[in-house]
């Protein structure tokens, strides 16, 4: 009977503790500094174009084939405003296939892609493919201050 009573005391005590639940959509836990959400495309503000040149390395290494990239000649290169000879034409990330594994970031030779905090990609639309504008927006959001978070106090 002693163990039983001990257990009862434990549950009684935790009855009065603060619940650890976080009511998710209303409030959410702080993300860790290096959290992997979905990858986003980094934007080169100096030349006003993404860093990505559409070399397809990430698409090749992607373990789930979630990335589809095409490349085109860079019009700004002809104008002389950009040093990039080629530029990304279309970059499609299939959000429903992406496993946030960071491989695309590691293999990128141009440092054009980064992991963002965006992980809530669900919505009431069947379109789960993120194009260049969405991916750039994800990266921009990331750069606005969220990057320099301290290590969160885990509970």
């Amino acid at each position: 009977m002693l163990g039983l009573i001990k257990g009862m005391i434990i549950t009684w005590k935790s009855n009065w503790r603060k619940p650890v639940t976080v009511q998710y959509p209303d409030e959410s836990l702080p993300l860790a500094p290096g959290y992997f959400g979905f990858p986003g495309l980094i934007y080169d503000h100096e030349v006003d174009e993404p860093f990505c040149v559409g070399c397809q390395v990430c698409a090749r290494y992607c373990p789930t084939d979630a990335i589809f990239v095409t490349m085109k000649d860079n019009p700004k290169f002809k104008e002389g405003t950009s040093k990039r000879r080629k530029i990304v034409d279309s970059f499609e990330l299939n959000i429903s296939r992406c496993i946030s594994c960071n491989i695309c970031v590691e293999v990128c030779n141009f440092d054009a892609i980064e992991m963002t905090d965006t992980f809530e990609a669900a919505g009431y639309h069947p379109d789960v493919v993120a194009g260049i504008p969405a991916l750039i927006e994800m990266s921009e959001k990331q750069r606005k201050g969220v990057l320099a978070r301290p290590l969160k106090e885990t509970r």
Binding site: M1, L2, G3, L4, G7, M8, I10, T11, W12, S14, N15, W16, R17, K18, P19, V20, T21, Q23
Partner: protein, 352 residues
């Protein structure tokens, strides 16, 4: 007013009361379990999820009522009636105060024991009629468990009947004004609580519905309103059994304050409030146990009933009878027997 109209009104009020208190209890159980587990429990429907139970009731009401095509239709469909009706009938004899009651039956205690065991048939039918192996196992387990615990339950109640020389629940409650029977009948109380936990199929005796192996036992094929009736019956049984325990062991509405026996409105309301404070405290303990304990196994459960509870309940009965005949001092021995029971459980678990 003719007697039958009076009875019908009282029964209708009681039905309304039972349905509502069941909703309160479901909400309470979810909240208690949640806080024991450091969760919040239902929070979305209304303030702190207070409308969760009505929402669930509506959901169950408009849910499709499925039955396996191979099930024995009549047995399957009539099982919920046979579970709920006997349990509700127990409320006929349960007084909430000296005059808030449907009827003060002169054989109240016996009546309760008789009706508490009837719902076994419903559980067995649910298990048998579903054409499902889990349900069958659950149904047979339910039958084995409920009949085994029926005995210690009945015998432990007898001690109280011996002391009061009456089976009227009102008399029994009033007889406990200076000292409730839990002090005179500690062994009876322990056995009664244990056995009624098993009768209600609640942790640690929730073996018939063991969701970790039988996935809900006899109820596995039920859905929608038909399933809700079982749920209703389970919680109604919880209220009824806790009320009985309060009535016969914890002093009903009288102890420890002034014997709230007067006929005035205020007195009656106070008595009912005090009575339900005790009932809810007891129900809280049941939920607390559910939050703490694992489940026993069917063979251990049967062994526990037949080798420990039944012999000890006879010890309690004979000691109490001897006390009635030869003097109250013998009741001290009941405390010794209680300690023996506790030590036996402890030693058994250690010896393994």
């Amino acid at each position: 007013m003719p007697a039958w109209i009076d009875a019908a009104i009282r029964v209708a009020i009681m039905l309304f009361f039972v349905f509502n208190i069941v909703m309160v209890l479901i909400y309470m159980e979810r909240k208690v379990l949640a806080h024991i587990q450091q969760r919040l429990g239902p929070m979305r429907t209304g303030f702190h999820g207070i409308l969760q139970s009505p929402a669930d009731a509506i959901k169950l009401m408009v849910k499709e009522d499925l039955a396996p095509s191979s099930a024995d239709k009549w047995v399957f469909r009539s099982a919920p009636y046979l579970v709920f009706v006997p349990i509700f009938m127990m409320f006929v004899a349960i007084p909430f105060s000296s005059s808030v009651v449907i009827r003060h039956l002169d054989m109240g205690l016996f009546y309760l024991v008789a009706f508490s065991s009837l719902s076994i048939v419903g559980m067995l039918m649910a298990g048998w009629g579903s054409d499902n192996k889990y349900a069958l196992l659950g149904g047979v387990r339910a039958a084995a468990q409920l009949i085994s615990y029926e005995l210690p339950l009945g015998i432990s109640i007898l001690g109280v009947a011996l002391l009061t020389q009456s089976l009227r629940l009102g008399d029994i409650a009033s007889a406990q004004y200076p000292l409730p029977f839990i002090f005179a009948q500690p062994l009876g109380f322990v056995i009664f609580i244990t056995a009624s936990l098993a009768e209600m199929s609640r942790t640690p005796f929730d073996i018939p519905v063991a969701e970790s192996e039988l996935v809900g036992g006899p109820l596995v094929e039920y859905s929608g309103m038909r399933w809700a009736v079982f749920f209703l019956a389970e919680y109604a049984n919880l209220v009824a059994t806790s009320a009985i325990a309060v009535l016969i062991f914890l002093g009903g509405w009288s102890w420890p304050f002034y014997a709230l026996e007067g006929v005035g409105w205020l007195m009656q309301i106070l008595a009912v409030a005090w009575f339900f404070t005790k009932v809810f405290a007891l129900i809280f303990v049941v939920f607390w146990l559910r939050g703490t304990l694992p489940r026993l196994r069917i063979d251990q459960l049967m062994t526990f009933a037949w080798k420990l509870l039944i012999p000890f309940s006879f010890v309690n009965l004979l000691l109490t009878a001897a006390a009635v005949i030869y003097g109250t001092a013998i009741l001290a021995l009941v405390w010794v027997a209680t300690a023996c029971l506790g030590y036996t459980v402890y030693a058994y678990a250690r010896s393994r």
